[in-house]
């Protein structure tokens, strides 16, 4: 008998199969990912985890008998009351009840559920997207350091001894101080021996002996390697620049915003959050809701607590400016903002909003997106465009004037992802230069 320990064999043997499966089911998985993400809260949205695929997409068909029809016999254990000839009403759902479908193959019609890792999830989610204006990187006090080689030092641990450099120093010192070479000493000794043997010229022998004596003394006084020669590799701690971002979610919560509109907005925020998470190690989210006044709230209140009042958009921008000033210095943070609204605004506020946006908010933002959410099923026949809302009209003027912001209209859930992709789609280099410059300034 042999016992073999296979535990040390390299793992991940089925990785190749998994990748093949992912590739095959890519479109299905992508769809499932988007559905799954809608059910989660913004901060959990990119945790990876389980998605379910409709089973027919990745089915492995085989010739199999149908589940109903014809004559079937079922043999079941655990009879309690039946005797031969009894009739039993047909259980609901065709042949499924009563365990009568004792399916030996175990194949159900259920969805196929499986877990995606965080990376797989995000990769699928954000394929081909690119974040604009990723320029700002700031060293902050709390983050970690990394070690880099930086020249040599005279002190250090033996493990860091720089051998080449030490020997080089030693060699140049020995040359400079004229430390006798061992070959020279050897040659001198041989000469003395030769002269002594021949017995001639004792005076010269004495002279040579004296010189040998002097050279030997010199070579002990000048050591082969002196502590002065020793060098160590030096390492330097450099603070790691960690990019951090804050994302502002601005939303109109006045009575005219329906649940459907809020849901659209939430989906957009989730996408943006996941997207930022991929690029920045640390992402803060700030929720600001507004009616005729604005306040910073937590996520739950933001989406679920109703509020009444008028609509004054500038209050939200004002609040955002306050938060930025207090907590998120534009020097340290990449600031992203997404505003969702049905487009209403008190008409007297429009100009103030435009000023605030172009003078205060946009200069500190990396990116500003305005999403106008509409009612479901609100479609106009081609050629009968809806009248632009107040806000849309106001912002369009800014955009036409070259302000670095993006705006889109969304009516239906299914539009969210395409719109998001459109906003962040990887663009040919240079196309975005103008906006970028404005954004970083």
């Amino acid at each position: 008998m042999h016992i073999i320990d296979r535990r040390l064999n390299p793992g991940g043997k089925s990785l190749a199969n998994r990748q093949r499966f992912m590739r095959r089911a890519k479109s299905l998985i992508r769809k499932a990912v988007h559905e799954a993400s809608a059910k989660r809260s913004i901060k959990d949205a990119d945790q990876g985890g389980e998605v379910s695929l409709p089973s027919q997409g990745v089915s492995e068909p085989s010739f199999r008998r149908a589940r109903s029809g014809g004559i079937r016999e079922h043999l079941l254990p655990g009879n309690k009351e039946y005797i031969q000839g009894d009739t039993i009403p047909r259980p609901d759902g065709g042949g499924r009840g009563r365990g009568s479908e004792g399916s030996p193959d175990g194949e159900g019609q259920d969805d196929f559920r499986f877990a995606l890792s965080h990376d797989e999830f995000v990769d699928l989610f954000l394929e081909d997207l690119e974040l604009p204006n990723l320029a700002k990187r700031r060293v902050t006090s709390t983050e970690s350091v990394s070690w880099h080689r930086a020249g040599y030092s005279v002190s250090g641990s033996p493990a860091n001894l720089a051998l080449m450099r030490t020997i080089r120093n030693s060699l140049s010192r020995r040359i400079a101080l004229r430390r006798p070479k061992s070959e020279d000493l050897q040659a001198l000794r041989e000469e003395i021996d030769a002269l002594e043997e021949s017995g001639a010229d004792p005076e010269e022998v004495a002279e040579l002996r004296a010189e040998l004596e002097r050279k030997l003394r010199r070579s002990t006084v000048i050591p082969y390697i002196d502590p002065l020669d020793v060098r160590y590799k030096r390492f330097e701690a450099r603070p790691k620049p960690i990019a951090q971002a804050v994302m502002f979610c601005l939303m109109d919560v006045s009575g005219s915003m329906t649940e459907h509109m809020k849901d659209l907005a939430k989906r957009f925020y989730i996408l943006l959050y996941i997207f930022l998470r991929r690029r920045y190690k640390h992402v803060d989210v700030v929720f600001i809701r507004h009616t005729h006044h604005a306040q910073e709230v937590d996520e739950d209140t933001f989406f679920h607590s109703p509020e009444t009042g008028g609509t004054v958009v500038s209050t939200a921008l004002e609040e955002m400016r306050r938060v930025v000033k207090e907590r998120y210095s534009p020097d340290d943070w990449n600031i992203y903002a997404a505003q969702a609204s049905d487009g209403d605004n008190t008409s007297s506020d429009n100009e103030r909003t435009a000023n605030l946006l172009s003078n205060e908010i946009l200069p500190v933002c990396q990116y500003y997106a305005y999403l106008e959410v509409g009612r479901e099923g609100e479609h106009f026949p081609p050629g009968f465009a809806r009248r632009d809302s107040d806000l849309w009209h106001t912002y369009s003027i800014l955009v036409r004037a070259g302000a670095p912001m993006a705006m889109r209209k969304v009516n239906h859930r299914r539009d969210i992802y395409p719109v998001f992709r459109e906003l962040f789609a990887r663009k040919p280099a240079g196309a975005d230069a103008k906006r970028e410059r404005a954004g970083v300034s």
Partner: protein, 516 residues
């Protein structure tokens, strides 16, 4: 000094060795098992999942469906919804058993007794395995298959190989020979048979026949024989669809035929396992129960280990009743173990009833010998038909329900009483008969000289038709492989009436339109 093989839950490799040796003595000396040499491999949970996903084989070619199974199993396992098997055993020589590193010492002993001796004996001795599988060659063949498929992927692209494997996998259940085939006779016996034929003809030669019986003048006969000849050449009707495609599909390339052959060979290798699930598990469970009992009696394992063993043994052989939420069919471990035990009882301590039902074995006094004979010569279907005793039917309270789609209600056909025993035996045996459980689909005709349309028949047993969606998908794969139209007729065997037809045309995804 203590005789214990191990103490506590921890084990080391010498523990496994000691346990194996003790078990081997019981298995060979007392139970008289005949086994392949054992090879025990310790693996981790992830490796177990790996093995799960490639149908239990240690090495396999790559295909997305294995990734899918892996993902599913991993998900269930992570969520705690599914435990992993304690072991996987492979029908090979040497017989490889995978055991999990997380098992306790008791579990390792149990697993070795179960897999390395119980299953191993069954693999080596059962006639189906002897007939259909080559335990010596399987690992080498898998190695070859893996390499071959990988090479094909390199040469022809992953996508092409994937499409081919998809199609082949869809037909895998119909890629086995169900009956032993006529072996081509060797030349010496051919010669002998030819001589015998001639002698026979000379002996019965009678001029009278030649002069009196009119020779059928006949085109009709010629046509008929041409038809016969054509079908014979194509070996029609043919139920092994993959074999038929491999040999006759007009436009497949040689490598594609080889891949079909690989899938077919592997299907054939697994064919006996599907027919002997109940017996195989029954045999292994009975063997491990005997061995562990013996080890406990002789003081080789402690009372604590014995109780731990009983706990996992009883949960393995648990049979929920039909109205239980946990019910998911008859548990092969439960019924198999119960039948083995029952046969052992009949051999040593039969009742009057047993003597009338099983005159051959009742009271024969050699339970182990009888069981060894049964393990070697039966499969699930014949085993149940022969050995499911009335006593066991009563114990399990098995009853039979008929579900006729034309009737408004289900009818109880038989219960555990005098009138019902035979019917229950037959009914249950049928559930284990692959001829009943997999649809009977055969290639019946093709005109290679004409439009090359392939015609298949499904003989719909009891008018149970094929699942339509699945049938359409599989038929599409079949058409892709065949390269021309395919027609599947579902036929009621009683009246020969056509109940339904499915047709498919090739999409050109496997065979390129240029005939390549």
């Amino acid at each position: 000094m203590s005789d214990l093989l191990f103490e506590g839950a921890d084990w080391r490799f010498d523990t496994i060795q000691r346990a194996h040796d003790a078990i081997e003595r019981v298995a060979l000396d007392e139970l008289g098992l005949n086994i392949y040499p054992n090879q025990i491999e310790v693996i981790s949970a992830e490796q177990m999942l790996d093995a799960y996903s490639s149908i239990g084989m240690p090495l396999f070619y790559k295909h997305w469906s294995f990734g899918k199974h892996f993902a599913r199993n991993e998900g269930l396992y992570r969520a705690g919804m599914q435990g992993l098997a304690y072991e996987i055993v492979i029908n090979s020589n040497p017989c490889i058993s995978y055991v999990m590193e997380e098992n306790t010492a008791t579990m390792q002993a149990l697993v070795i007794a179960h897999a390395a001796f119980g299953h191993n004996h069954f693999f080596k001795n059962n006639y189906l395995f002897q007939q259909w599988t080559d335990a010596n060659g399987i690992l080498d063949y898998l190695e070859f298959a893996k390499k071959y498929v990988a090479e094909c992927e390199e040469k022809y692209g992953e996508a092409a190989v994937e499409r081919l494997l998809d199609a082949a996998h869809a037909l895998m259940n119909h890629g086995v020979h169900r009956y032993p085939r006529k072996r081509p006779a060797d030349l010496r016996s051919e010669e002998r048979r030819e001589r015998e034929r001639r002698i026979h003809e000379e002996r019965i030669y009678n001029d009278l026949w030649r002069r009196t019986v009119p020779v059928k003048s006949g085109r009709a006969r010629e046509d008929h024989s041409a038809e016969e000849r054509r079908r014979a050449l194509l070996q029609l009707p043919q139920e092994n669809l993959l074999y038929f495609l491999e040999k006759t599909a007009p436009r497949l390339q040689p490598w594609q035929r080889e891949v079909l052959r690989i899938v077919r060979q592997i299907a054939q290798y697994f064919y006996p396992q599907g027919q002997t699930k109940l017996m195989n598990e029954g045999c292994a469970t009975w063997v491990h129960y005997q061995i562990m009992t013996r080890l406990h009696e002789t003081g080789r394992i402690s009372d604590g280990a014995w109780l731990e063993f009983l706990h996992s043994h009883t949960s393995v052989v648990f049979q929920p009743e039909f109205d239980d939420r946990r019910y998911s069919g008859i548990n092969p471990y439960a019924l198999g173990f119960a039948m083995m035990n029952d046969i052992a009882r009949i051999c040593t301590d039969p009742t009057e009833e047993d003597r009338t039902w099983f005159p051959a074995v009742a009271g024969c006094g050699d339970p182990v010998g009888t069981l060894r004979y049964i393990w070697a010569n039966f499969r699930d279907e014949s085993f149940i038909l022969q050995y499911l005793s009335p006593r066991l039917i009563r114990q399990f309270r098995i009853f039979s329900v008929i579900d006729d789609a034309n009737e408004p209600e289900l009818v109880v056909r038989a219960i555990h009483d005098e009138r019902g025993y035979r019917r229950i035996q037959q009914g249950l045996a049928r559930q284990y008969d692959v001829a009943w459980t997999t649809p009977d689909i055969q290639v019946v005709d093709v005109n290679l000289a004409g439009d090359r349309r392939l015609i298949l028949h499904h003989r719909a047993l009891n008018r149970v038709l094929l699942d339509e969606t699945e049938a359409r998908l599989v038929l599409q794969h079949l058409a892709d492989l065949w390269g021309y139209d395919v027609l599947l007729k579902e036929i009621d065997p009683a009246s020969e009436a056509v109940l339904k037809e499915h047709a498919a045309s090739p999409r050109g995804t496997i065979l390129r339109p240029d005939g390549g």
